[in-house]
Symmetry: C2
Subunit: 280 residues, 2 copies
């Protein structure tokens, strides 16, 4: 997805939200907004939004001198997600269509995102998403692709989401490579988060090499690109991965909740909708 | 009200909304956002938001070479407001407390504001505001001030709001000076709008001399300042006038609907609340 002009006010909102998590110093918060303003003339609208997202968080880290400002809040939500695991695992077990329920569970994890405007009522989200209609639902195509492959590349998104992804991966019953970000960015999943949830017990955990809040192929490692290019089925979680990969001609299935009106418009759905979308 | 850091993302949103009303040229829209970005380092947070609002709209006018881009949409809503006048006049006539209902009617006019995020359902707003509880309600104080004065300075806000203000002014039964902006800015009321609604038949219409979307005293004419300083009762309509005058030690009564979370927080109320607030 390219950068829309609507993303520009949102870059400042993201910057301010992030700045406030890192520092109470209003001068530093303001400095961060000024540094973002300096970047505006050089943004190419042909770039994807996570490219600017990456710059914003580099500015925040540099200005606040904090390598991982979201660490504490990630830990808090990781613990919450870990507690939810048995209950949601049970939802899948007792479901009529366990694969579909596991897909819904993976989307529930996607709401714990501190990059998007954040008003989380997790209990409400669980109830809603377990029963919500998909507005884009390439499920038949997904099952067909799944039946034809033994290996899956799974692109993770937010840290606590790993717990929910694990439930889907256990249900897929394939050899899975689970991809995390190279370094902490917002509350995105890193190697540390994957290990916290024991993802390494059921999948190979791989860094994309990219430290943006998405998967920008030009910034990814050679090792990741080798996996990416040879994959027959790629599950891509969340908005950041959608934003950075929706223009690619790859066997991608996007699994997300549309949490922003611009992404919803790009997808052809409404804000709040849930989506399982194939682009090939 | 001073400028909060939260106002900065909103300056870009206002700029983009305004830009899109004036031009379909995406390059020009982008240029406007870039020019706003250039202003960010020089914003003093001690200034009020309408000072930057004024700059944003000067940038839009200059970039699009359009002296009054809101002209058409203002005309459309002025006609809608004119049609509503007899019905709302009748609501006041049949009310138990006609003055209070006239105050509510004046607030209804305040929702027609293209500067704030705009999702207008006017019929719904009329029903709501005619019955809504005020969250700040200095009505007794207002009636006392009214009983002691023969003359009122009334600061207008948006163009179609003039129709609704007229109903309140007719009810006040005092000598009123009705203040409009010096030049078109967003959809704020100018002399032309006041004349369209026949405000000159029941009040003296005066320009503030200021072309910001508010009343910035340092930019106002000497004539206006003379009126302002000698007034015993000033009714100030809307957010822009609140933002620019809330720090003054004047006999002001602010009449508005809080359409933005930051102004609501500054007032000590919630977004969507209606307010009749005295600050002296």
């Amino acid at each position: 997805m390219k950068t829309y002009l609507d993303c520009i006010p949102c870059f400042f909102r993201q910057g301010l939200t992030g700045a406030r998590l890192f520092t109470k110093d209003k001068e530093k918060q303001r400095k961060i907004l000024e540094e973002i303003a300096k970047e505006i003339p050089s943004i190419s609208l042909d770039n994807t939004p996570p490219q600017m997202g990456r710059k914003i968080h580099l500015i925040i880290k540099k200005t606040t001198n904090s390598p991982d400002p979201y660490k504490k809040i990630k830990e808090k939500y990781n613990k919450i997600a870990l507690k939810l695991y048995p209950r949601l695992k049970n939802e899948v077990k007792k479901a009529k269509d366990p694969l579909l329920t596991a897909i819904r569970v993976a989307i529930i994890g996607n709401v714990i995102d501190f990059g998007a405007p954040f008003h989380l009522n997790l209990e409400q989200e669980i109830k809603t998403i377990l029963n919500q209609e998909f507005s884009i639902f390439d499920y038949a195509k997904f099952k067909k692709a799944l039946s034809k492959t033994e290996e899956i590349l799974y692109l993770g998104d937010n840290s606590s989401e790993v717990a929910f992804d694990k439930i889907l991966i256990e249900q897929l019953n394939r050899k899975v490579t689970y991809v995390v970000r190279e370094r902490p960015i917002i509350n995105d999943a890193t190697l540390e988060d994957a290990l916290f949830f024991g993802m390494d017990k059921i999948a190979k955990v791989l860094s994309s090499g990219c430290d943006a809040p998405g998967t920008i192929l030009s910034l990814c490692s050679k090792e990741f690109i080798t996996y990416y290019n040879s994959s027959e089925l790629i599950i891509s979680k969340g908005q950041g991965n959608y934003e950075s990969l929706s223009g690619e001609n790859s066997p991608l299935f996007f699994l997300l909740k549309a949490k922003c009106p611009i992404i919803a418009r790009d997808l052809g759905c409404r804000e709040g909708d849930i989506v399982l979308k194939s682009i090939k």
